[in-house]
Symmetry: D2
Subunit: 282 residues, 4 copies
């Protein structure tokens, strides 16, 4: 019986003592602990991995009993059953590298989640996805039918009730209502080092600018294009020798690396959103 | 007798043969060779390090004799006496870390140049500079006197006729005429990963944005602020744990690294400007 | 008609002139050029990518005509038809990550080669390999039958006449005669930063030692275990928090990255062996 | 009133609760907390940064009151007054780059310590050290007089009673008794990626081996040469183009980076030694 306890609240004395005493009083072991005090706003953030095998304290009981402390310290908090696999829906277009990386790691046991469905506006990656034993849903995007298209997607996703939506080089802009409905639950990989090169064709933009490093950014999706809270970023060196095609090829490896890192942190309940920024406990 | 021969011209057959045969016919050894064909514009770029000790071919003779080939292939070219130390003027404000790194490496023999003068609008770094045996010129910036201030600077620099001006965290915007006069000869270090966070307080901007990497960019100075051709860039990882003050501290190491890299390439005639981008032969 | 011309010879004046004039005289374009003079032994190394579409100079003709120059400068040289795909045999055991990375990149068009066969002493990866349309040969290793085992492997490989053998986490030590027969044609990925942690269980060794970075090394296979010329290496940071299992997991990404880099350089004729070291033209 | 509380003990329930309740009961704020459970040995490690300004709990009082908890949980522990600057003695030979980096950062306020003395067997760096206002002691190493030499050093160091001895490219092997006397208090920078290339001339060894990355290692000094617990390591890429002299030059930057990192962690009480390995809380 393992739980992740995620807390944010105004900082004051005694928070750690209260929480850790609560855990100890239920014979819990703290397997991993992270905490952080925001220097400016004086906010306190905490993530505990707790083993309650000794007392077999059930989720609901834990939740109920902890409410007193949570209320005393004015906490935003969540308790996560670490043994329940999160449900994930992946969105792709035609570029398969990020999806493939997710699927292979998932199959190898590296990603503890349940990939419910892959949705695409193209049919190219169907065979690959189904080889992994995962359902693939092709919803073509007909001209003029954007609203209907996303209505179908929304309904399908809604029926699955996923914990996480991954846009693995999806290339489509999600409509406002989907962004809102799954706020803080949609991770996108953008192929630039944001905030540089927002929007379409970021490698082209980077090439035209003559930067000496190209990058990728995993971020939560909000209504504002490529402006959501950043979770992970990385870069790779380029020189004048690389063509635009080389940028695209080299970039793939960075995209995969950054996306998988963000997804892992999410599945492990390590990401807290604070305003338009993230706290990522590693 | 070592020369650097730098060439750019439209690509066509026989350029390498013509140039290398010229070198061989004068008993020259090609110590290092770099060439590059721009895929799009079909331009050819080349940098040779040539040892002409065997024939003692003088600079002027080389220059004159090579003109025929240069004209045949429609070359933009320059021949540099690799044994002549380039003359450098450094501009600083109050932040000494980049300057210190330049001076220490210069003293250690790592930077083959002649640092003629350090110019500053503050007096803070005077003692340090003079300890290295380098003249320090304090030109205070009086209110309302910007034009006069830069007139004094321009005159002083003009009298020294330097090959390179380094803005080592200078914090002032050079006037248009200086930018023009020393076009492709002024290297600035900007403390962000350009094109993100142009202008003032880039670490503040990065902190507010919540990026997961902060960076620095060395670029040639043009009239447009922080928009000149990029020479070198690097980044360092940050997380929510780092405060704005930590950004400033961590950033210093990246600034030093990026600036020294750009300066070394420049002193070694490895940088070619092509449009608003650079080719850096390493 | 594209060729790679690879040369090593004692350094002297006129090599570049002779070679580039030869190319020009046959209306060839030098697409890429790399050269390097070994400071100590005074050896000269060169790699040219040449486009001979204009003259349609055939491989045999080129080879024959170039012999005069080669002999004059006492060259070790090879001319490679850049349009012929190299034939590759891959050896694996049970760990599929490096193989998968090779196959996926091969399928995506990133690796220009012809993967003839995957050989394994286990049957685990059969389905995966065959999904890619590549033959999989399972040759079990029976107790006491090592000589016979490798006889079968040797015969099979011999019949395929491959240009490259890749040991993609093969976990077996090749017998002396195979090492000799395919000298400079076998690339192994070793999961440590050599020369540290030679032999079995390098992650265990690294963990016990308490290093702060773990690495991987791609090298040519020679009779001496893990001592062949190193082609590529990379590392990743670890801390006390990572368990041995984490090392294995983290290490996979570095192994893939290093192996693919070495294989790409090999397929592109960029690796020259000089003594027990390599020159890798990038 | 800031303290660092460093604890290691057998893992069991209630440690965090006991310690954090103790802190809370004295109106302390936990500014930073790190803890770690060693998966194998079931040991618990913790580092707290505590602000006791509210209760003005004196060091001795804290120490005395905490003894009960420490004894109950069988702790190895130390309480450090975070406002007391640690006393440091630096040893150098002729290579000044690591020393210079330490001194410049110290002067810039980046290293919170009191550099009492620089000791060297050469006189080369005297002027530089004294420019920073730090005493420099030249103790030449006369032939045959090693024992006496180190007796003088030992006496001098003993009189200063430093918290940390830094061997900043000292090039001498400390005698057994000094290693023992200052166990876990001497940090050395070795210019290789240990355990590769132990002992003399590691860059030569790396060059001969043909590795593709060179590195540096900061470690605690024990009697066994270059075998003490590793604190920090880093590497930099090299290729066939770099000469041995280039290795030395490139290596300097890595040496500085790794040494400064280790020293900072030490001064901040972030390093715990566990057997022959380190735990470094970042």
């Amino acid at each position: 019986m393992k739980y992740h306890l995620i807390i944010s609240c105004p900082d004051r004395m005694g928070i750690v003592a209260a929480v850790s005493s609560f855990v100890a009083s239920h014979h819990g072991l703290i397997l991993e602990a992270d905490q952080y005090v925001d220097g400016e706003g004086k906010n306190f953030f905490m993530r505990y991995e707790i083993d309650l095998a000794a007392s077999k304290l059930a989720y609901e009981t834990f939740h109920k009993k902890f409410e007193g402390i949570a209320s005393e310290f004015n906490m935003n908090w969540s308790l996560v059953d670490a043994e329940r696999k999160k449900k994930v829906v992946v969105f792709v277009s035609k570029h398969g590298h990020c999806l493939e990386d997710l699927l292979y790691r998932w199959q190898s046991g590296e990603l503890a989640c349940d990939i419910q469905l892959v949705i695409s506006n193209h049919n190219d990656l169907k065979e690959r996805v189904e080889w992994y034993g995962i359902p693939f849903l092709h919803i073509p995007l007909h001209e003029g039918g954007k609203a209907e298209h996303f209505k179908m997607i929304g309904d399908k996703v809604s029926s699955l009730n996923p914990d996480l939506l991954i846009l693995a080089r999806y290339m489509q802009i999600l409509p406002k209502d989907l962004c809102d409905q799954y706020e803080s639950k949609i991770i996108n990989i953008h192929h630039s080092f944001l905030p540089s090169f927002v929007g379409a064709k970021p490698y082209h933009q980077a090439y035209d600018k003559g930067v000496k490093l190209i990058g990728a950014t995993a971020h939560f999706v909000t209504q504002e294009l490529d402006q959501g809270p950043i979770i992970a970023q990385d870069v790779i060196e380029v020189s004048h020798r690389e063509s635009l095609e080389d940028y695209v090829k080299l970039g793939k490896d960075i995209e995969k690396k950054v996306l998988i890192s963000a997804v892992k942190q999410y599945l492990d309940d390590r990401i807290l959103i604070q305003g338009h920024k993230t706290i990522v406990f590693k």
